[in-house]
Symmetry: C2
Subunit: 137 residues, 2 copies
DNA sequence: TTTAAATGCTACTTGTTTATAGTATTTAAC
DNA sequence: GTTAAATACTATAAACAAGTAGCATTTAAA
């Protein structure tokens, strides 16, 4: 699997926001709290709004807040929105069609690990993250 | 984890060569058999030689052959040589220091999956791949 | 109604990775 | 020795991802 830096930023944003699900966060505030370049963060926030994870409130006193219940938002959905599912499903040798009929030499070796990754991304919601936090950040 | 296209190419090369461990492969031949751009493949072969996985034989009738026993070469070593171990160990939020003392919000959630990935890469050798092949390619 | 504080949009810049071009070097066959 | 078939090296190009700049728009407060 290949998680882009942008997806990692998206995880930072949403997992941070999940700490206080109902709060309204401004881009500036988020920029201070998580470490993402401000302009890039703004773009990404707009993007996450367009994907329906959060919604934006414009104008003074505006910001971003969740648009969906955080226990309905899985990590897989987030990766899908940013990188696309191919980044997850792609064969470890990078072959286009590594279907069962002509699987690549490493298909069997890697399959279990890949499924474990997919399962974790599918089963984990933003509220799970919130619950799992023991330490800091 | 973040596997570069180049690492995937390296996997293609070495897993393919592992099918006939003692054979000598020319770049041209490999280019035809696996799907990697020829010039890039050549560079990568030289790189893999420098890392000691294979050795090059120059001149006419030259090519590449394994320099080490294929049951001693793990996938992790290959990724390490190309992308570096950071690409594997990196925190899922991309934070520089996600050590135990101040682990990121997703640390606990992701840790098991990450360890599974590392274990597979560590435990799998090129000869395991050869053995595991059931289908085609 | 003006101002300030927020998001929205689009074009551009920078950095990194992937890919190519061209030439030099090595060595076996003839 | 000359040639042909291979690898080695280095510089450059192309493609992609990440980051920035600047102005437009929205809206609440003063």
């Amino acid at each position: 699997m290949n998680l882009s830096k942008t997806s990692k930023y998206a995880f930072r944003i949403l997992s941070h926001m999940a700490k206080d699900e109902k709060a309204l966060y401004s881009a500036q505030q988020l920029h201070k709290e998580i470490d993402v370049p401000e302009k890039y963060l703004r773009r990404l926030l707009t993007d996450l709004s367009k994907h329906g994870f959060i919604k934006s409130i414009q104008g003074r006193q505006g910001g971003f807040t969740f648009n969906r219940d955080i226990n309905q938002i899985t990590l897989l959905e987030i990766v899908d929105a940013i990188d696309g599912l191919d980044s997850i499903n792609e064969c470890i040798l990078g072959y286009e069609s590594c279907a069962f009929s002509h699987s690549c030499p490493m298909h069997n070796i890697w399959e279990e690990t890949k499924q474990k990754t997919i399962k974790t991304l599918t089963d984990t919601t933003l509220s799970d993250i919130h619950k799992s936090i023991v330490g800091v950040n």
